[in-house]
């Protein structure tokens, strides 16, 4: 059963079509890059999967479930913006997540905080932008979910931390779970992807295995993206 399945999915904001007739299926064990220019519908798709938005047309299913509490229990979502209380410390956030999610792996979270030199006693509001993003990513990756939805997880951090985050994603690899990563930093993520999905104006322009694309086109996904979306 696909971990994420969209059929004829559409979303309108007023008269603007953010997504239109989108069909997409993501199988367990896959790490998938959700790639597209600004405004192509990446965040809208992720928010629909989380149930933060409701579709205007079509269907979206997470592990066979319509968006709702059951679907949410299976998915771990990293929003584009900070979504944790900034008066809390990193340690308090771990408590909070542990209360909320049965699948929260506290040991893993503590290990990652230590690896990145983050003080569990420090408040989020006292941290730099990069450190806040790291804490949030740690919370998200410490869950044993079936679907990880990461909306631009490496945008705000330095290249060394980017490598750590990507190796965390690889290290957490679970053949029963899928990871969907939306990003503009294609060159950085493409080595860890199984598949790439190109979104254009709310539709799937291309959905293929990364190595098959490289073989067929003789170029990296990053180069292909620049060619396809040349302005």
């Amino acid at each position: 059963m696909p971990v994420l399945e969209c059929t004829g999915l559409g979303k309108k904001y007023g008269r603007v079509n953010a997504l239109e007739g989108l069909d997409l299926s993501i199988e367990p064990g896959r790490i998938v890059g959700l790639l597209g220019p600004n405004g192509s519908g990446k965040t809208t798709l992720i928010k629909l999967a989380c149930g933060l938005l409701t579709p205007s047309a079509g269907q979206i299913r997470v592990c066979g479930q319509a968006p709702g509490p059951k679907a949410c229990a299976q998915l771990s979502y990293l929003p584009e913006r900070m979504a944790v209380q900034s008066w809390m410390t990193a340690g308090q956030l771990l408590d909070f997540y542990q209360d909320f999610y049965a699948d929260f792996r506290r040991d893993a979270a503590q290990q990652m905080l230590a690896d990145l030199g983050l003080d569990p006693k420090k408040k989020i509001q006292q941290m730099s932008k990069g450190s806040r993003e790291k804490v949030q990513l740690i919370l998200v990756m410490s869950r044993a979910a079936k679907l990880y939805l990461l909306d631009e997880p490496i945008g705000g951090v330095d290249p060394a931390t980017r490598d750590y985050i990507l190796s965390t994603i690889i290290g957490n690899y679970n053949p029963e779970a899928a990871v969907l990563i939306s990003t503009h930093l294609i060159a950085d993520v493409e080595k860890i992807l199984d598949e790439a999905v190109f979104l254009k104006e709310g539709r799937v322009l291309l959905h293929s295995e990364v190595d098959a694309l490289r073989e067929e086109k003789g170029m990296s996904v990053d180069e292909l993206f620049r060619e396809v979306f040349r302005c």
């Binding site: 080595k191 490289r214 073989e215």
Partner: protein, 122 residues
């Protein structure tokens, strides 16, 4: 192992080449136990499925073999390793010859240049 990837070829073929180089050069000696696919993938910063695919390819070439519970090992068959080494050498020579021909040298001239270079006259 140091990993480097170029953008014009599939990742898995580059993994196969790099592991093969380590085996034929002796950096990974015959009979050596390889780290798990997950550890190798983390080290190389690549997708675990891609690393798995590279391993399958190397197994097909007979350069590594897996033992159900013990893990994956470099072959102890020296002739296989020598064959692979010869194949690598022949690929290198081929690509060298192509580049020299692009520069406009004939095969005879190339041979002469190589000989001169080896004697330190070039």
């Amino acid at each position: 192992m140091k990993w480097k990837f170029s953008s014009d070829a599939p990742i898995y073929t580059q993994l196969v080449q790099q592991i093969q180089t380590s085996i034929v050069s002796g950096a990974l000696p015959p009979g050596e136990r390889l780290p798990s696919v997950r550890d190798l993938a983390t080290e190389a910063g690549v997708n675990p499925n891609t690393m798995q695919r590279a391993m399958t390819e190397l197994e097909r070439d007979g350069l590594v073999h897996s033992q159900r519970t013990a893990g994956r090992f470099v072959t102890e068959d020296k002739t296989r390793i020598d064959e692979a080494k010869r194949r690598c050498a022949s690929q290198q020579i081929q690509s060298f010859l192509e580049k020299m021909e692009q520069l406009g040298y004939s095969r005879c001239e190339i041979l002469l240049l190589v000989e001169q270079h080896m004697k330190g006259e070039c």
